[in-house]
């Protein structure tokens, strides 16, 4: 399946996470540009996909040519404050394992970074960690 749009990649990444977090124990997940009001002392995950550098990969201008595009997947994991990091790291492992060195539909995920503790958390009132995964894909023209 040739990748021709950013939305295709975003969908591949987000649907993989949504499917996993719908499994028991289910955890709410929120994506870019979505309203979400987390319940107090709840656990939830924020998934942010950003596209970055683009470089020529092959010759051929707009026909039979390829670009190499890199991106960053940020996963913010929120768990109740004052209960230690254990529950947070359990969720972090679930989401990290989804992408760590995995190739899905021609999206190549690098070795995952984190979970790193973020202090102060945003929004406040939670214990927050962050898993960061760079990825790349080949855009076919």
């Amino acid at each position: 399946m040739a990748i021709t749009s950013r939305n295709q990649v975003r969908s591949i990444i987000e649907s993989r996470l949504a499917l996993e977090l719908a499994e028991s124990p289910a955890i709410p997940v929120v994506f870019h540009n979505m309203d979400y009001e987390p319940a107090v002392n709840s656990s939830w995950v924020q998934c942010l996909v950003s596209f970055g550098q683009n470089e020529y990969l092959s010759q051929g201008l707009t026909v039979d040519s390829r670009n190499r595009i890199v991106g960053l997947l940020l996963l913010n994991i929120f768990t109740p404050q004052g209960e230690g990091p254990g529950a947070n790291y359990v969720i972090a492992k679930r989401v990290r394992d989804l992408y760590n060195r995995v190739i899905v539909s021609e999206v190549y995920f690098d070795a995952a970074n984190g979970p790193s503790v973020l202090a102060p958390p945003v929004p406040e009132g939670y214990f927050q960690t962050q898993v960061r995964v760079t990825f790349e894909f080949i855009e076919e023209l």
Binding site: L57, S58, Q59, G60, L61, V63, D64
Partner: protein, 140 residues
Amino acid sequence: MATIRGEQGSVQFDAAGSANATVVGTRSWSLTTTKETLDTSVHGDTFRSFVGSMISGSGTVELVYDPDATGQAGFLEDVLTTADPADATFELFTTGSVSGTDSISFAGIVTDMEISSNVGDLVVVSCSFITSGTITGNLE
């Protein structure tokens, strides 16, 4: 005047020399053309003089490996042709892919193929070739 960037280029190839087709995924190409010279200096000359002699060429094509990319397998595996009759045809384009325009064409032999796989990087292939017979330039 218009300058040209490398990404405008392309490579066409046919192992049987019948109908060139674009090799998808080429990243670069190079061609070095050499004309031998014959020394025509004679007794009494104080400066050497030469005439041009045989012309030959050699070069490389680098590709981003993709087993499904059109034209790649035939190009890479031409190096495995035994008793190669030099029937493969090449056309190297500085821009576009219109045969006979902004290109150099020739028959030749793929003499070397190196494929490398490194952690964290794309698999790339580098092929070397030599020309055989006439080299036709359409670079004007």
